[in-house]
Amino acid sequence: MSLLEVNNLSIDYITGEGTLRAVDDVSFSLEQGESLGLVGESGCGKTTLAKSMMRLLPDNGFIKAGEIIFKGDDIVKKDKEGIRKLRLRDIAMISQSAMNSLNPVHTVGDQLVEGIRAHSNATKAEARKRAEEVFEIIGLEAKRLNSYPHQMSGGMKQRAIIAMALSLNPSLIIADEPTTALDVVVQDKILKKITEIQEHIKSSMIFITHDISVVSELCESIIVMYAGRVMEKAKTEVFFKTPFHPYSLGLKNAFPSILDIGEELISIPGAPPNLMEEQVGCRFKARCPYRTERCQKDEPQLKQVEEGHFMACHYPERIGEFTEKASKRETWEAVRERLIDEGGDGI
């Protein structure tokens, strides 16, 4: 049995201007010890998806359909207290903004101890001891527990957040762009540390990022999301060797390879669709260089193209042609011109 199984999950945000479907019919599963990279542009629903695993959606966010089976129980159906017990102990989050995730008026140590004690009968001293242990694991001095957040650097705060997330050896770690606020050198160190510990305590991890190069380094499998839907899902090595979806091809272009330093990057013109509107056809149609009549009408479903490799495009058989064209600048320039012709701004 998988540790986590997400089936046909849809999540809506109710806003003043209407309903926005942020996550639409997403399914995937995660094995014990597996690490999964969730990539996509800002606003593609990856953070919403991750938060729903802990039922941390904002007040106007609702799970409209689907189930999230964690260790055999459906998280969607759990009551408040059931969810509360699950958080941190079973599913822990390493959040996006380390800078602001610690309460400024309490010491870091108090905040760790408080989390540990919310899930156990540990005395203050025992919890404190555990906090010291995780601090050591993450590479912070125990005396730092007495610091207030403002007395620590960004990297330290991020480490403290990670220590907090690991304090109860959770079976699932959700890391939501854990290092975006840090400089590259610190970023690398911290990412290494996270995966090291994750492997050590044999927990699974969902790693959310818009930096696919990080995924290639850290994760065993990858899910590419676009406008609330899964576009492609594969083992990481397979994905980076042979991505299938036109969007994935475009994404790959947008990241520099060590082999062609100096080349100007090719970006995908256009912007994701407005999810307030009802989506007809493929969501990537406006920006796809290969779109056809069919893409305008039919929404492609996720289907298997190879063993363990899924993607949502009508034309898996044209992959050879797609890959070849995708590396050419003209292909994407044509999309830009088409967008301008259609009245868009072609950015």
């Binding site: 017990k85 958080r87 102990r89 959040s95 008026v105 919310a118």
Partner: protein, 323 residues
């Protein structure tokens, strides 16, 4: 920290001298002089001169000013023209009545305001929240004297639940603090004005708390607290309210500072023998020493409470230090 406080007190002393100077000349810029109030216009010129002479008002402004400042250094505010007694004494008599009323009103306003504000933020978007805001704003915008008169009309005159005015029933005389203030009779007189001014004050803590709570609730560390699986009450009080309270505490400390001046309209409506009413009368009577003394003391307390607020802030928020 001590160095910081010493520096602040030094600045405060300088400010008091400046304020005293302004007050001194402002009062003398008001048309008319004390004799106009004390005597009728038909009073012979000689008598007027004599009186001005006695008050020292015939001296040059500069001379008057130097005497005033010299006395001030000795904390001597002079004698009231009207009462003929030391100003310090008169103010000391009036301050307890004002402070008791203001602090009771403040306690009511802050207790309801802080908890109500936190609750309103927690329940934002509900009908109860809009009712709460409207209610607070109505009493803030309605003229206090009107609300006071209506309260007297309804609760004192019609239902006879409370006495309509004053601080004690006519004929009652008390000399010591205990005899005057620690009686059931005083408490009965206190309730109505406390409620009326409490209602007026409530908007500040209620809306400050609500807004600052709303801001805090959207902070990442609140989400983190949820993600840690803490209980709702722990999040609400230990994490949210604890941070949201900061601006409310400052507002509260400053409020105590301004409370000493009392609420003039309220004191007039309820015939409350407080400092606010006394100041207004002192100004109309051209009772320079009394008015000056009262204003100087009010500004000194105001500045002192400002300092208290800053120190409190440093204690409540570890990010602020005065080293």
């Amino acid at each position: 920290m001590l160095k910081y406080i010493a520096r602040r007190i030094g600045i405060m002393l300088l400010m008091i001298v400046l304020i005293s100077t302004m007050i001194f000349f402002l009062f003398r810029a008001i048309p008319g002089d004390p004799t106009a109030y004390v005597v009728d216009p038909s009073m012979p010129q000689e008598a007027r001169e004599l009186m001005l002479e006695r008050y020292g008002l015939n001296d040059s402004k500069w001379k008057q000013y130097t005497i005033f400042i010299k006395d001030l250094m000795k904390l001597d505010f002079g004698d009231s023209f009207f009462y003929g007694r030391p100003v310090g004494q008169i103010i000391a008599e009036r301050v307890p009545a004002t402070l008791i009323l203001m602090l009771s009103a403040m306690a009511v306003a802050y207790l309801i305001g802080v908890f109500g504000g936190a609750w309103m933020a927690w329940r934002r978007g509900t009908r109860m929240e809009s009712v709460g805001i409207t209610f607070a704003l109505i009493f803030r915008s309605a003229p206090t004297f009107w609300v006071g008169l209506m309260a007297i009309l309804v609760f004192a005159t019609k239902f006879r639940w409370f006495p309509p005015q004053g601080m004690r029933t006519a004929g009652y005389t008390g000399e010591t603090f205990k005899e005057v203030f620690l009686t059931l009779d005083f408490l009965k007189h206190l309730i109505l004005p406390t409620i009326v001014s409490g209602l007026y004050f409530i908007a500040t803590p209620l809306l400050t708390m609500r807004n600052s709570m709303l801001e805090v609730l959207s902070e990442d560390y609140i989400e983190m607290a949820h993600a840690k699986g803490l209980r709702e009450n722990t999040i609400l009080y230990r994490h949210a309210a604890r941070n949201a309270l900061l601006p409310v505490v400052t507002a509260g400390a400053l409020f105590i500072g301004s409370a000493i001046g009392g609420q003039v309209l309220l004191e007039v409506v309820f015939s409350w023998p407080g400092l606010g009413r006394e100041i207004v009368q002192a100004v109309t009577r051209h009772d320079y020493p009394l008015a000056q003394g009262a204003f100087i003391i009010i500004s000194a307390i105001m500045m002192f409470m400002n300092l208290v607020a800053d120190i409190l802030y440093g204690i409540l928020d570890p990010r602020i230090s005065y080293e």
